[in-house]
């Protein structure tokens, strides 16, 4: 147990002794702040009539009728921001391969399973921290924009804070998925390319395509991004859902995300982590 706790402390030290974590955190904050603040202002403006619906191309559907705006605005922290903890996790593992730091790591802690478990625990916690950063942007700037247009930001609503808690959990799980994917694909460049291509392009398209039929929509619910949105409980991606398949419950979404992290990490342990370090 002391070995494990020391290993966790060492993994924290690894993250906070290079510049990556705060660079990613700053970009995360600005990116989510821009989207949540911008869209918050736009949608609140339309809803309250400050911005005429005619000036926004709504495809002839008239006003959006989103129901409650704040949960959607706040969900940008995870529905858009999840790629940041994934990248942090991927870089935490692939960096060990790339810079050959597995050698000193495994010399200091020869039990490799302990090291990988410690890395996962550490990244879940730092990923949760990224969740806080993302929420600071989406609730702080997004909620500010809503309030500015006279829409209730629901900051005293317990539902809002439950969503905040679930968002932090989701971001932690995403970082664990990053760790797992990093050991599964230890080549850093390949790993980053696949993560960016999948999260920014492939999965959104799959979710869109799956949503047109009820049967595919149900399968689509198990895509990691859909599962994450189900866990958080709100997302701009689930607004347009033609087939109307009900999303997973929040806890089901959480278990699906956890499943992705566990499967990737276990397979990655076998295919790369326990292999010879040459």
């Amino acid at each position: 147990m002391t070995t494990f706790l020391r290993s966790v402390s060492a993994e924290f030290a690894k993250i906070f002794t290079t510049r990556l974590w705060w660079l990613l955190a700053i970009v995360l904050f600005c990116y989510i702040g821009l989207i949540a603040g911008g869209l918050g202002a736009l949608l609140a403006g339309v809803e309250t009539g400050v911005i005429s619906p005619d000036t926004v191309n709504t495809g002839g559907a008239g006003a959006f009728g989103f129901g409650s705006l704040p949960p959607i605005i706040y969900s940008f922290a995870s529905s858009v921001g999840y790629v940041f903890p994934v990248l942090l996790g991927v870089l935490a593992t692939t960096g060990e391969f790339r810079h050959q730091t597995l050698t000193p790591t495994f010399l200091a802690t020869p039990r490799r399973g302990v090291v990988l478990a410690a890395k996962t625990v550490t990244l879940v916690l730092v990923g949760a921290g990224f969740g806080v950063v993302g929420l600071a942007a989406s609730v702080g700037l997004g909620g500010g924009a809503l309030s500015a247009f006279g829409v209730d930001a629901l900051l005293l609503d317990s539902e809002t804070w439950l969503q905040v808690g679930r968002t932090i959990l989701a971001m932690g799980l995403w970082a664990a998925i990053g760790v797992g994917f990093g050991v599964l694909v230890p080549s850093q460049v390949a790993s980053i390319v696949v993560v960016l291509a999948f999260t920014q392009f492939v999965e959104p398209l799959l979710r869109l395509a799956a949503s047109f039929l009820e049967v595919t929509a149900q399968i689509g619910n198990f895509l990691p991004g859909s599962a994450s949105d189900a866990l958080v409980g709100a997302s701009v991606f689930t607004l347009a859902n033609p087939a109307g398949a009900p999303p997973l419950d929040w806890w089901q979404g959480g278990l699906v995300l956890l499943g992705y992290a566990v499967v990737a990490t276990v397979i990655g342990y076998a295919v790369s982590w326990k292999k010879d370090v040459t």
Binding site: S9, K14, T103, A108
Partner: protein, 300 residues
């Protein structure tokens, strides 16, 4: 004072696919001595050391420190210090933080970080990112990592590579000091001349197999004894040798006589009344013995 443990390789073999990188390697390394682990590049030195340290799984056999496998050591860094290749660093991390990470992982006091950086002469560069380090500085940082737990056993892979002359002189003294303190010191090199000033014992491997084991002096053998002898009057000298039944050939610096006894030739010349200008035994050097053992051309 940390005490050294005996390193023991027992029938270690490692196959990469069909290629046998190491084959049935067995030897022990004693504390209080510097042991040179020698062989040409590709002989299997690094693979053997990585097996010893639990980084590479052997196909068969065991390698232990005082009978314990590396992965079973209760405090690995405080028992064994290892420096492998020179580039095991995140370039964006400072030397101090690099060592700090592993001090935390091994449960060592953080004060050790500056102590070992001072010991290897990097204290002034402790707060510098390792990405800006020269090869020699990286070697020293690797050594600092090995010293972090003040271990009784040191395993160093090619530690002299990339060092400047001052660094080479320093590390030679360092290796001697470590052994004098009773530690076990195993140091690999592909050049005997690089370590022959420092080592007591040699373990020589070639093509993954043990070819020689023993004290350094055991390399000082004469496979084909020859004595060089010359005279202003070579004809008379040659005639005297022939009369005594000694076979010789004519070399660049004189006659190469097939005997290991210069005194015999001196006596022959004296009795024949021939003046000598050169008389000395030609020794095959340690390096020649080493090259002969590992198969000459493979060492380049």
């Amino acid at each position: 004072m940390p005490t050294g443990a005996v390193i023991e390789f027992t029938s270690i073999s490692k196959r990469f696919g069909k290629v046998a990188a190491v084959n049935e390697l067995s030897f022990t390394v004693e504390p209080g001595r510097v042991t040179g682990f020698l062989g040409p590049n590709g002989a299997g030195k690094t693979t053997s050391l990585r097996i010893l340290l639990g980084l590479v799984a052997p196909t068969s056999g065991t390698a232990t420190f005082g009978g314990v496998r590396y992965r079973d050591l209760p405090n690995p860094l405080a028992t064994v210090g290892a420096a492998l290749e020179a580039a095991s660093f995140h370039p964006g991390r400072t030397a101090q933080n690099h060592l700090g990470v592993y001090a935390i992982a091994a449960g060592l006091p953080r004060t050790r970080v500056m102590e070992v950086l001072t010991q290897v002469g990097l204290a002034a560069h402790a707060a510098q990112r390792v990405g800006g380090y020269s090869l020699g500085m990286r070697q020293r940082l690797g050594l600092a990592y090995a010293l972090l737990g003040d271990p009784g056993v040191l395993v160093l892979d090619e530690p002299i590579n990339g060092l400047d002359p001052e660094g080479i002189r320093w590390i030679r003294g360092f290796l001697r000091d470590m052994a004098a303190e009773g530690r076990t010191v195993l140091v690999s090199s592909h050049l005997l001349s690089e370590v022959q000033q420092s080592v007591d014992d040699v373990v020589i491997i070639a093509r993954g197999e043990l070819v020689h084991l023993g004290p350094l002096s055991s390399l000082d053998t004469d496979a084909a004894p020859q004595t060089i002898v010359d005279s202003p009057n070579r004809e008379a000298l040659g005639a005297a040798l022939t009369a005594a039944g000694i076979i010789f050939s004519i070399g660049r610096t004189g006659l190469l006589a097939a005997t290991s006894d210069p005194a015999l030739l001196g006596h022959l010349a004296f009795t024949a009344g021939v003046e000598l200008s050169v008389l000395h035994r030609q020794k095959t050097g340690l390096e020649d013995s080493f090259l002969a053992l590992v198969g000459g051309s493979h060492s380049l």
